[in-house]
């Protein structure tokens, strides 16, 4: 009897459509594109601000274009998706054990949201809002 193991080909382009978990993973990964693009918009805004009041005003006006509003909503949706899914897995990556007891996952997730809220409040405070 001869051995001739057969290796099945794996698609390099459509593998992620095979199951919902893979699609959710790709959505989380692709969120970096939108967050990166948003960061670029913010950098452009800073440059326009340094160019003077007229340039800054034109930049603010351009943000109100329907395409810009749609992009920002999309970027916000992906940023929220990334944040929620990432915080949801923190109990797996950072379990906390006290003696024989395990800190409930909800507490670890809640601590991350609390930290996020505190940092956001600090940024808003420093910005004078």
């Amino acid at each position: 009897m001869s051995r001739r193991p057969y290796r099945r080909a794996v698609s390099t382009t459509s593998w992620w459509l095979a199951r919902p978990r893979y699609i959710r993973y790709m959505a989380r990964e692709v969120s970096c594109v939108f967050i990166g693009a948003y960061t670029a918009v913010v950098v452009v805004g800073l440059v326009r601000l340094s160019d003077g009041a007229a340039a800054w005003g034109a930049f603010l006006e351009s943000l109100q274009a329907p395409v810009s509003v749609a992009f920002h909503l999309l970027a916000l949706a992906f940023a929220l998706y990334h944040t929620v899914t990432w915080f949801n897995v923190t109990p797996k990556a950072m379990p906390v054990q006290f003696g024989e007891a395990q800190l409930p996952g909800g507490v670890i997730i809640g601590a991350h949201y609390t930290g996020w809220a505190l940092v956001s409040a600090l940024v808003l405070f420093l910005a004078g809002v």
Binding site: M1, S2, R3, R4, P5, Y6, R7, R8, V10, T12, W15, W16, A18, R19, R21, Y22, Y25, E29, V89, K92, A93, M94, P95, Q97, G99, E100, Q102
Partner: protein, 247 residues
């Protein structure tokens, strides 16, 4: 007991005669309490004695009857036919070469498992007359979850990273390494580091998490790998701060 007829589409491959695998369908009268393994056993016992597959315990302990069932890696002894549609597609575990029919070649996994030194490396050998090793329940709890791995390799079949890069050490081996690294009796973390913390080790994992979804014993290899990443990162920075630190 009610009998229900189910069509099993089984991927067949005979290395001596077939150029590539092909599906063959068998109509099987299933009992209400049957799992997919019972239906496959019926094919072997009654319909076609040439079918090859692995199984042993029929109770989700031995880890040998893993198959792709309707595209999902599952232990066939744990997958109830009553939860399945009338057509069930059964394939060998994905991401492994097919030896014959539903039997896959797991040599690569075995090599990777051995490479992480999945055994206790004690600080010093202790003679039996010196008494038992002492471990508190709290120390046991740190790693007990990871001892439940039965090496069924469902996690490798679910992992897209392993599918695309067979150099990846993979979920079960890394979870087992984590199990021993967390054991208070073990001092082998440094000896495992070369494999575990390499590019082909934990850093190849992009946290898809499918391995933990399919694990029949909720070992959560994805969690183990992320914890190892954090520990390895802390090690790296501690190494920068204290170069002569004894690991």
């Amino acid at each position: 007991m009610n009998e229900r007829h189910v069509d099993l589409e089984i991927l067949r491959y005979d290395p001596e005669t077939d150029e590539e695998p092909a599906f063959q369908t068998y109509r099987v009268p299933c009992q209400e309490d049957w799992v997919v393994l019972d239906a496959v056993n019926y094919v072997k016992d009654v319909l076609d004695r040439t079918l090859s597959y692995r199984w042993s315990c029929h109770m989700a302990v031995c880890g040998s009857c893993g198959m792709m069932i309707n595209g999902e890696p599952m232990l066939s002894c744990k997958a109830f036919v009553r939860d399945m549609p009338d057509r069930i597609r059964i394939e060998p575990l994905a991401n492994f070469p097919i030896e014959r029919d539903l039997v896959v070649v797991t040599d690569d996994f075995m090599d990777k498992l051995a490479s992480v030194k999945p055994y206790l490396i004690p600080r010093e050998e202790k003679a039996i007359e010196d008494g038992a090793h002492v471990q508190t329940p709290a120390q046991l709890k740190k790693f007990k979850q990871y001892t439940l791995c039965i090496n069924c390799t469902l996690c490798y079949a679910a992992c897209p990273q392993y599918a695309h890069d067979q150099n990846f050490t993979g979920p079960a081996a890394l979870a087992l390494a984590h199990r021993y690294n967390l054991d208070s009796q073990d001092v082998g973390r440094g000896a495992r580091e070369d494999v575990v913390a390499s590019n082909a080790g934990i850093w190849e994992c992009s946290f898809v998490g499918a391995c933990s979804d399919v694990c029949p014993h909720e070992v959560d290899p994805a969690g183990a790998i992320q914890q190892t990443k954090i520990a390895s990162t802390v090690d790296y920075f501690m190494g920068l701060l204290t170069p002569e630190r004894d690991r």
